[in-house]
């Protein structure tokens, strides 16, 4: 084809767009050398690429001719797809780079030669990481390897080795090292437990390490030295902890040279120190300098006990380099070592601390309330972020004694708390939280304890939320009666329920949850699949498909012994058809703020995934409100609405709002279910404890109204079931829900795991 026809074809392909004439000419003239057929195939892809990116399309036209020298036209669309993948994941530059090396990027993997993408290892490495750490660390792909101490970031792909098993191993090596930096407190090291423990809010504090590194004239050098020394220390730790892994690492480095791998792949960290003196290599006296530093590093390898030792040696080495006037050219980190990102660590740490502080204060306050210690020592709550909150202000003497069991990894500390000379017996949960706080901060802030004492003293009332932006109503208000136990009758037409759409928010909640529970969802699907229809044998029936031999023999023997023989002698096979409709009613009151709300949402995700398999009809609504005239009833999923993106987005948007007037919400859900024709109709409530509204809807009144609403549901032939997330057994719950109709979950983290199981048992 000549350039004119090519241009014309191009314009028709991209119409109604009219790109610049020269650009088009410059791009399509590359195609002129191709034969008719190849040219057509090449042009065919224009319609695929153009809408994605115009620049990419022009780049494509410039490279496609040489690409078609490497592979047949049949492979073209696959190559284009991979290019678009790159573009969408990492942008234009990456896509250009990808197109530039057809052989390495496209053909080698196509021939199955090498390269393992993150996708392929995620499924095995996430549980591996969690097993290693015993906590819920996340794993994600990224351009650089590092960890912020909550997530471990690994490459999008590893193509270093021709054998994929080695590439997979290398992923594992990276993950393990990054975990080890966390486990050894490499980034969260703190000078000493004693200093700076009172005063400002510790959760937003600078990392000690950051200050340390910034105190050097060349922070880059100090940071690199420190990171390398920590890598040396961590390597020793891994040698003893995971010998199998390190053995394989060594065997890879033995082959390093023969395989022509870059030094940064598998070098021993100790050897790497040499490169810091690179620029000095030409000077004669330097061999001794090398020797001296290497000897120090070698000693460090065998003797370092804590990250503080690395900090000390950093200072020494820095001084030596300074004195010897060694010029530092930045040394590339080892691949598995990754980079150190202290700002990321600080951010992640403060998020984590915030959560654990809230949980700790809450749990301790509840514990104190239960133990009745709060009454006598009540003080006003001191927010932990309050400046200089002296813990012993109002005569409450708080002593916190934290003991680290293992100096090497700083994990597993035991905390002993003494309030007014009385030792508080911490439960497992509090110990775990305290231990996580210590591993982040290096000490335990006493303010947390005084806040808890204060909160316990105040009787711990949840905070009313500020004005919420309200969505429009879907229908006019629906009016319900409310039960007044004092007069043993209804207050007529007392409450308004308003159906509303849930205000949508954007977040990555859904994909993250799917990822987090990936394994469980997989298992759930399988379990729920088995539930679709169930068959089982029931024994000792009056009639049936087969004789129950055991029963027959027993009845013969009984009759010989002169007893009346039983006539239940048959086994019957029973097929159970499902035909179940269920409504989930979710408490969106302010008190669910934080973990409870998260857990409820996660449970809904798991449930939806499972219910889609089993095929039961299900709907989801949320409720919250303020006073009797406004109980908001948020639509998340109607009974027969398909489970689609919008539903997912609504689930993600469930957020704490105002108060919990249970009764009207239950009555409205009952009304909705009453219209449904199913063998089993279930109404499952998910909440966090007591019903309570802003007005006098609290205490016994609220409990009795809730109880009555549940009785009304039962009378309508609906099975209500209530799931409460509450750390402590509450005596009123059994009465409110009726002892068989509820389950209490003491640890909110268990909710997502138990929820589908509860459902399964309920409906089986």
């Amino acid at each position: 084809m000549n350039v004119e026809t090519l241009k014309e074809t191009f314009y028709t392909l991209v119409s109604p767009d009219i790109p610049n004439d020269w650009d088009v000419e410059e791009a399509v003239e590359n195609l002129a050398s191709l034969d008719e057929e190849k040219c057509r195939s090449a042009l065919n892809q224009v319609q695929v690429i153009w809408p994605v990116s115009h620049s990419l399309c022009f780049d494509y036209l410039k490279t496609v001719t040489s690409a078609l020298d490497c592979f047949a036209a049949d492979n073209l669309s696959e190559w284009v797809n991979s290019t678009l993948d790159q573009y969408e994941k990492q942008g234009l530059r990456a896509a250009q780079r990808y197109m530039a090396d057809v052989e390495g990027n496209f053909l080698c993997p196509l021939r199955g030669e090498s390269g393992v993408p993150f996708k392929r290892v995620h499924g095995r490495l996430l549980p591996y990481l969690r097993g290693l750490s015993g906590s819920s660390l996340e794993l994600a792909p990224h351009d650089v390897v590092y960890t912020d101490s909550s997530t471990v970031y690994v490459p999008h792909e590893i193509t270093l080795f021709t054998d994929d098993a080695d590439n997979i191993f290398f992923y594992k090596l990276i993950v393990t090292y990054q975990w080890a930096f966390i486990a050894c407190s490499s980034y969260t090291v703190a000078e000493s437990a004693g200093s700076n423990r009172q005063g400002q809010d510790s959760s937003t504090e600078e990392l000690w390490l950051q200050g340390f590194i910034d105190s050097f004239p060349d922070p880059r050098l100090a940071g690199d030295l420190y990171h390398l020394l920590e890598t040396i220390r961590v390597t020793t730790f891994l040698e003893s902890e995971l010998p199998g892994l390190m053995r394989r690492k060594r065997s890879l480095s033995d082959q390093q040279q023969s395989r022509g791998l870059p030094l940064s792949v598998t070098s021993e960290p100790v050897c790497r120190l040499r490169d810091f003196f690179h620029a000095a290599d030409n000077r004669s006296a330097d061999t001794s300098l090398h020797e001296r530093c290497l000897a120090l590093a070698e000693r460090h390898r065998t003797h370092a006990r804590s990250a503080m030792d690395s900090a000390r040696l950093t200072r020494t080495l820095y001084r030596i380099m300074d004195e010897e006037a060694v010029e530092y050219t930045p040394v590339e980190p080892l691949l598995y070592q990754g980079v150190m990102r202290l700002d990321g660590v600080r951010h992640a740490r403060s998020q984590r601390l915030e959560q654990s502080r809230e949980l700790f204060v809450d749990a301790l306050a509840t514990l104190l309330l239960q133990q009745g210690q709060a009454g006598s020592t009540a003080v006003a709550e001191q927010p932990p972020e309050g400046p200089g909150a002296a813990p012993d202000k109002e005569g409450v003497a708080v002593v916190v004694d934290a003991r680290q069991q293992d100096a090497l990894t700083a994990s597993d500390s035991t905390v002993v708390i003494t309030i007014d000379n009385e030792k508080v017996q911490l439960n497992d949960e509090l110990q775990r939280l305290a231990s996580s706080i210590i591993s982040d901060l290096g000490y335990f802030p006493e303010q947390y304890v005084s806040s808890a004492v204060g909160r316990a003293g105040k009787g711990y009332a949840p905070f009313p939320a500020g004005a919420n932006e309200e969505g429009p109503e879907l229908t006019g208000p629906v009016i319900y009666d409310e039960w007044d136990y004092r007069r043993n009758d209804f207050r007529k037409k007392w409450c308004n329920v308003l159906e509303k759409p849930i205000p949508l928010t954007r977040s990555s909640f859904y994909p993250l949850t799917l990822q987090k529970y990936h394994g469980q969802i997989h298992r759930l699907r399988y379990q729920f699949e088995l539930m679709r229809t169930s068959e089982r044998f029931i024994r000792r029936q009056r009639d049936g498909d087969d004789i129950d031999l055991d029963a027959l023999i027993e009845s013969l023997a009984d009759s010989r012994a002169g007893l009346a023989p039983s006539d239940r002698l048959f086994i019957r096979l029973r097929r159970d058809e499902r035909d179940i409709a269920v409504l989930f009613l979710v408490d969106m009151s302010n008190s669910t703020q934080g973990w409870v709300n998260e857990a409820i949402k996660e449970s809904l995700v798991l449930l939806c995934e499972a219910l889609e398999v089993v095929g039961d009809r299900y709907g989801i609504y949320g409720f919250s409100g303020m006073r009797r005239l406004r109980t908001d009833f948020f639509h998340i999923k109607h009974l027969d609405e398909p489970y689609d993106e919008l539903v997912k987005q609504r689930i993600s948007s469930i957020a704490p709002r105002e108060y919990t007037r249970m009764g009207p919400a239950l009555r409205h859900a009952t009304t909705l279910l009453d219209r449904v024709d199913s063998r089993l109709r279930l109404l499952v409530t998910l909440s966090d404890g007591k019903p309570e509204d802003y007005d006098d809807y609290k205490g016994e009144y609220a409990i009795e109204d809730t109880r009555h609403a549940l009785i009304e549901a039962k009378a309508a032939g609906i099975h209500p079931f209530c799931i409460t997330v509450d750390r402590h057994a509450q005596e009123y719950i059994g009465h409110m829900y009726g002892s068989v109709n509820y389950i209490q979950i003491d640890d909110v983290k268990k909710l997502p795991h138990r929820m589908p199981e509860i459902y399964r048992v309920l409906t089986n």
Binding site: R124, L125, Y128, G131, L132, P243, L245, H518, E554, A557
Partner: protein, 269 residues
């Protein structure tokens, strides 16, 4: 006469190896003296059965163990008429046998049994300490030597199967869990014969698998699995294969979890 022969099989002559992990031995002894039943709860393979064997030896009582299951009926526990040479002969079930002869009756995994079966233990578990045998119109009163022990695993029981409060409140509850790392390594080394360092590595592996609750593995490797892996190793199976067969494959069928545990094995060993 006949009964005694059956009973003798249940006597434990040799001291079983049991490493106490807390005050459980003292507590169980106190419960025995006071005539209270005991409830052992904890994950599978953490030493509950071994503990009962040890207690039976220490208290010098026969130990009659019943593994509970779905199909277990009251007659299976209490006894039934059988036909021998054309005649109906009453045969005691294991529970009745234990009550009559003052033995220890251990109902393993009690929640696996149906509710209508487990009601027979109610009058035995409270201060009446008696067992009605309806078919014979007999009411057995347990001698002081009789002890009732039941076990259950709170981990994987479904909600509905949870023990009824009215039943469980009659028991002295002893909570079991996997031993601490040092103790567990010692148990594994001792029971399987492998070296201390190998045992430690096995324990490390177990700890990792026990951290997979959120990833779809409700129960990690138990002490029992570790001992089995150790035994395979002692019998010449190489470490990786032993772990693969005794631990990894025993824990899950999920492909990705299998791979993950495999990666743990290859890191640890």
């Amino acid at each position: 006469m006949k009964r005694n022969m059956r009973l003798e099989e249940h006597r434990i002559e040799q001291e079983p190896f049991y490493m106490p992990l807390g005050p459980e031995v003292k507590l169980a002894e106190a419960a025995y003296i006071t005539g209270l039943p005991i409830l052992l709860k904890g994950p599978t393979g953490c030493g509950k059965t071994r503990f009962m064997q040890y207690m039976a030896w220490k208290l010098d009582r026969p130990l009659i163990t019943v593994s509970c299951h779905d199909d277990l009926s009251t007659s299976d526990l209490v006894g039934r008429y059988l036909i021998r040479a054309g005649e109906a002969v009453w045969t005691d079930g294991p529970l009745t046998l234990a009550v009559r002869s003052g033995a220890i009756c251990y109902l393993d995994e009690i929640v696996e049994a149906r509710k209508d079966t487990t009601v027979v233990i109610h009058p035995l578990a409270d201060d009446r300490r008696e067992l009605p045998i309806e078919k014979r119109g007999e009411l057995l009163v347990a001698p002081p030597e009789f002890m009732l022990a039941v076990s259950y695993n709170p981990g994987y029981q479904s909600v509905i199967k949870d023990l009824k409060p009215s039943t469980r409140q009659r028991f002295v509850a002893l909570a079991f869990d996997y031993p601490g790392a040092d103790a567990e390594a010692e148990i594994v080394a001792r029971e399987s014969g492998i070296s201390d360092s190998l045992a430690r590595s096995l324990v490390k592996l177990a700890a990792m698998t026990r951290g997979l609750k959120d990833s779809g593995l409700p129960e990690g490797a138990s002490t029992r699995l570790l001992i089995q892996a150790g035994k395979l190793m002692e019998n010449g199976i190489d470490v990786r294969t032993a772990c693969n067969n005794a631990v990894t494959e025993a824990l899950t069928d999920d492909r990705e979890l299998l791979q993950a545990i495999d990666e743990m094995v290859s890191s640890v060993f």
